[in-house]
């Protein structure tokens, strides 16, 4: 019985049945009079229904029929599929970026139960890391978690056989690999006793890609000794290929025991309140994130009581691992940003679907007769609607497949622009996985439904008498049809308007950011970053080296000035600290101010041309033994000492117990941290009093950067042949980096790309609709011209109709954009979300394109030959 039903599913079988039925009916006609048998076509149609009674069977039949329909109209199919592919492709490409950045889970055991700990000081805008003893306490006492790992990301120099090169390292706790359930690809991983025992023999586990690239996948590397920042380590294993570490932005090249962080500073094991480790914990089965958070907060409170000196103001948050990428700070901001871009892409899809719907409507008029005839022959309405639905869904699926192909290409292009220059090893893997396919499929289905809604509705309401009487031709277009067409045009123009305004705002914001007065002179400056720690230099050797190199760089021909700085403007790394002012204790519950600062060479302000407005700059006298000094920005002076002269005032950073810094000068405001219109408080401390190993040499010279670079490199090689250099580029290039204009540019480019797509689709759509409308009115136009209307009148009539629609669309679009543009304001710099200039120019741009698109067919309508038009059927 079941088989009898199922066998109809097989099309060959179905064809045999069909042939058999025809034969049977033909045979009966031989026996009986055809008139006596009645309507055989209807009998056959009804008989087909009986073997199409399983819905799956009907679907197969519908799909078959739909395929035949598309094959018969290759032109229509090509346009429809291409339109959908563009819409679905754009959506899928953006989604695959989101997927690779945020949604793809870590390739480890039960990744969805991993939670990132996010401690924060009261008053601070940013989360920090945990000190090792704090981490130990959280790990031991957090009851909601089965285990908790800690890791610290570093940039270090590693040398095997030859000079060192820079790698991204992760210093991991002993339970790191076991908690994640990671097994070695080769050798072994880091074991608990090695990672957290002072004085344990240092070992190193290579990341898979690093092992492939730097060591040519040589298994002989196991057991070799290497030098990490000058310290001997033994390579013991290679991490598996899929595992890239727990730092989401880049693949870890080498894993080291956390204990190695204590080699140069043994206070690692005991000092609280120092940010060293990022902690990730695994929730116990059945425990919710909320319970996890609560259990952490209990510990935070007890630590604050036990160690008020360091932990008094620390509060604890926790986020699912996938939300805390790359930092827990992003947990709040990325959903909004992702939402905005997915919405913009969705508008493109909407506009594409409207185009397709217009084409389908034009085609639908021809099909309306087919539908009417079929329903006259007794086909059920539901059956016809299902047929149309199948056709559209099929179209959408084929379009979706083409869209996925297109999106892989788009994401390839995107990943090439998206590779930020600051971190060369950043890997963005946009390869589609099941999430991307599921999303594309969902989008495709939605597109199919949107496109098919109109024709399906009219099939459902198909009115036989109207269709048959009109003979598929509307004399001056029935009111209902016109309304549907008008809605399509207005929707399309309004949607494009919203998208173009968003794109326009982002582009303007990029321009504003780039045009912004940064407070320093970025031209003719060459940057070279180096870290003498990576070749094992201690502080004394480091100071010596930096001093010597500065002297040599300044002696180079054409060099105006040269200086060292810890973070160049818009650098991804910076110092941020709470500030305590001398003689002004915090009142109960008051949070200390938080200020970014920089470690500089006395000549830096001169090199970047940042003027001192009051007091003095640093000089040679501000050395290790002299009183500690600082130069503050105007904004900091105004914030901390409003209405007073800040010169001579003193403050401490981080802890009330730290040494006092005396303000010796006030510098002009700069945009050192990020390109925002408001000046952020900022201060500088001299390198001589605050030694840090990683530094950037900035050289100002009007000579070409390339030649200068060669000479500076030559001097560095002469002093320290093994020292790895990175981020060697001009200041202007460096401003385009990840923390600078890069994100603005990516956002603006992406939105502008989508906007251009929407503009193109809308222009094509308006052109199509107006030409179709004009062609439908050919007869009427002929009649009017025969009655004396001039070409001008006709032009005014056809174009006027289009203009009203476009105008309505533009106005509605403006209204919607005004209402929702606040959503993008978080991405904007120096331009308001309701910037009148952007709104006007977008309205003019879109209106202009639509006008041209409408003018061409209108113009053609006026050239109609009256006699031909009157005879037009």
């Amino acid at each position: 019985m079941i088989w009898r039903r199922l066998k109809h599913l097989f099309l060959s079988r179905r064809r045999a049945e069909e042939r058999d039925m025809q034969e049977e009916l033909d045979a009966l006609v031989q026996i009986a009079d055809e008139r006596e048998l009645g309507n055989l076509t209807l009998a056959a149609e009804n008989a087909r229904e009986t073997w199409q009674w399983t819905s799956l069977d009907a679907v197969v039949a519908d799909v078959h029929y739909a395929f035949r329909g598309l094959r018969k109209n290759p032109g229509f199919a090509a346009v429809a599929i291409a339109t959908l592919a563009v819409g679905i492709g754009a959506n899928t490409a953006i989604f695959s970026v989101v997927n690779s950045l945020f949604l793809r889970p870590l390739p480890v055991q039960d990744a969805y139960r991993l939670v990132v700990l996010a401690p924060r000081e009261r008053g601070s805008s940013e989360f920090h890391d945990l000190s090792y003893p704090d981490y130990r306490d959280y790990r031991a006492h957090a009851r909601a978690f089965s285990d908790m790992l800690g890791f610290a990301v570093g940039m270090d120099g590693i040398a095997v056989d030859q000079g060192p090169h820079q790698v991204l390292t992760s210093y991991v706790t002993g339970n790191y690999f076991s908690m994640l359930g990671v097994r070695p690809a080769l050798g072994r991983l880091i074991e608990p006793a090695e990672a957290e025992t002072p004085g344990a023999a240092p070992v190193l586990v290579l990341g898979y890609t690093c092992w492939q690239r730097q060591f040519n996948s040589d298994p002989g590397v196991i057991g070799k000794s290497a030098r990490l920042n000058g310290h001997a380590v033994t390579i013991v294993g290679v991490a598996p290929e899929q595992f890239h570490g727990t730092f989401s932005l880049a693949e870890t090249d080498a894993y080291l025991p956390a204990g190695m962080l204590a080699i140069e500073d043994s206070s690692f094991w005991t000092a609280r309140g120092k940010g060293e480790l990022r902690a990730i914990a695994r929730l116990k089965p059945g425990m919710s994130l909320k319970q996890g958070r609560a259990s952490l907060q209990v510990i935070a409170r007890s630590l604050a009581e036990q160690y008020p000196e360091t932990n008094k103001y620390t509060s604890m948050e926790a986020y699912p691992e996938w939300r805390a990428r790359p930092q827990p700070d992003s947990a709040g901001s990325w959903p909004a940003m992702v939402g905005i871009f997915l919405t913009l892409a969705f508008i493109v899809l909407l506009v594409a679907c409207v185009n397709l719907a217009s084409i389908l409507r034009a085609r639908g008029n021809a099909r309306e007769s087919e539908m009417a005839v079929r329903s006259a022959l007794g086909a059920a309405r539901g059956r016809l609607v299902r047929q149309l639905l199948t056709e559209n869904v099929l179209l959408a699926i084929v379009g979706g497949a083409a869209g996925i192909l297109l999106s892989t290409w788009i994401s390839m292009v995107l990943s090439s622009i998206c590779t930020p220059i600051d971190l060369p090893m950043v890997q963005l893997d946009f390869r589609p996985d099941w999430r991307v396919f599921a999303y594309a499929f969902g989008v495709a289905l939605l597109a199919g439904l949107m496109v098919g809604l109109g024709p399906m509705r009219s099939a459902w309401r198909s009115n036989l008498s109207i269709v048959l009487h009109e003979g598929g031709r509307a004399l001056s277009g029935s009111r209902r049809r016109n309304r549907a067409r008008n809605v399509l045009v207005v929707t399309q123009v309004a949607a494009s308007m919203v998208l173009l305004i968003a794109a326009g705002l982002l582009v303007r914001s990029l321009e504003e950011a780039q045009r912004m007065n940064l407070g320093f002179d970025p031209h003719h400056v060459l940057n070279l970053r180096m870290d003498v720690h990576q070749i094992g230099y201690d502080e004394a050797r480091g100071r010596n080296f930096y001093g010597e190199l500065l002297a040599r760089a300044r002696a180079l021909p054409g060099v105006e000035s040269a200086a060292f700085v810890f973070s160049v403007p818009f650098f991804h790394d910076r110092f941020l600290s709470t500030v305590h002012i001398e003689g002004r204790p915090l009142s109960q519950g008051e949070a200390p101010s938080e200020v970014s600062y920089n470690v500089i060479d006395p000549a830096l302000l001169q090199t970047l041309r940042i003027p001192i407005l009051r007091g003095r700059g640093f000089n040679e006298a501000d050395n290790e033994t002299a009183p500690r000094v600082a130069i503050v920005s105007q904004a900091m002076a105004e914030r901390l000492w409003p209405g007073q002269d800040p010169v001579g005032k003193r403050f401490r950073i981080t802890k009330p117990a730290n040494p006092l810094l005396e303000v010796v000068g006030v510098a002009r405001n700069t945009k050192f941290v990020r390109p925002t219109p408001e000046a952020e408080p900022y201060f500088y401390v001299p390198l001589s009093q605050n030694y840090t190993a990683p530094m950037t040499l900035q050289v100002r010279s009007s000579r070409p950067a390339k030649a200068l670079e060669r000479e500076v490199l030559h001097e560095i090689r002469a002093l320290a042949p093994d020292l790895p250099l990175y981020d060697v580029r001009t200041m202007e290039e460096s401003l385009g980096g990840t923390m600078g204009f890069f994100l603005f540019r990516v956002g603006a480019d992406l939105a502008a790309g989508l906007g251009i797509l929407a503009l193109f689709l809308t222009t094509v759509g308006v052109y199509g609709v107006i030409s179709y409308a004009a062609s439908q009115r050919t007869h009427e136009i002929g009649l009017r011209m025969a009655l004396g209307a001039t070409g001008q009148d006709i032009l005014r009539m056809v174009l006027g109709q289009g203009l009203r629609l476009i105008g309505t669309g533009v106005l509605i679009g403006l209204g919607i954009a005004l209402a929702v543009s606040r959503a993008v304001s978080s991405l904007l710099v120096g331009v308001s979300a309701s910037d009148p200039m952007t709104y006007t120019s977008v309205a003019v741009l879109l209106g202009g394109f639509a006008l041209v698109a409408g003018y061409m067919p209108a113009r053609r309508a006026t050239r109609v030959d009256v006699m031909v038009a009157l005879r037009h059927e």
Partner: protein, 111 residues
């Protein structure tokens, strides 16, 4: 006279009880057995045949007719025979019930 809804299947099964017939033959047989009272539309009979065949109550086979013409002949299957028995008793119950309710013709009651 038009058929009561749902009776066509039963009539077809019953007609095939006497032996295999082709589609047109079934229509003819029902018409003549009912003394030309029941009009059988071939347009509805044919889908019914396909439906009964799909349910497995009748089976079909190409054969040669008495006038040496090829046609598809339908015959009752074993399950079809059981179905007919069921339908028959249901029909008898139905007729019985309707007769009880309807009684004699209205004119006779008044007299």
């Amino acid at each position: 006279m038009e058929l009561l809804q749902g009776t066509l299947d039963m009539l077809t099964l019953r007609t095939l009880l006497f032996g295999p017939l082709h589609g047109y033959g079934i229509a003819k047989a029902i018409r003549s057995t009912s003394n030309e009272t029941l009009e059988i539309e071939f347009g509805s009979l044919y889908p019914a045949l396909k439906r009964l065949e799909a349910k497995g109550w009748i089976a079909s086979k190409w054969e040669t007719s008495e006038h040496n013409r090829r046609a598809k002949y339908y015959r009752l299957t074993r399950t079809g025979r059981k179905q007919l028995t069921r339908e028959h008793s249901k029909w008898a119950e139905f007729v019985d019930a309707i007769t009880r309710v309807m009684g004699t013709a209205p004119g006779e009651v008044e007299r």
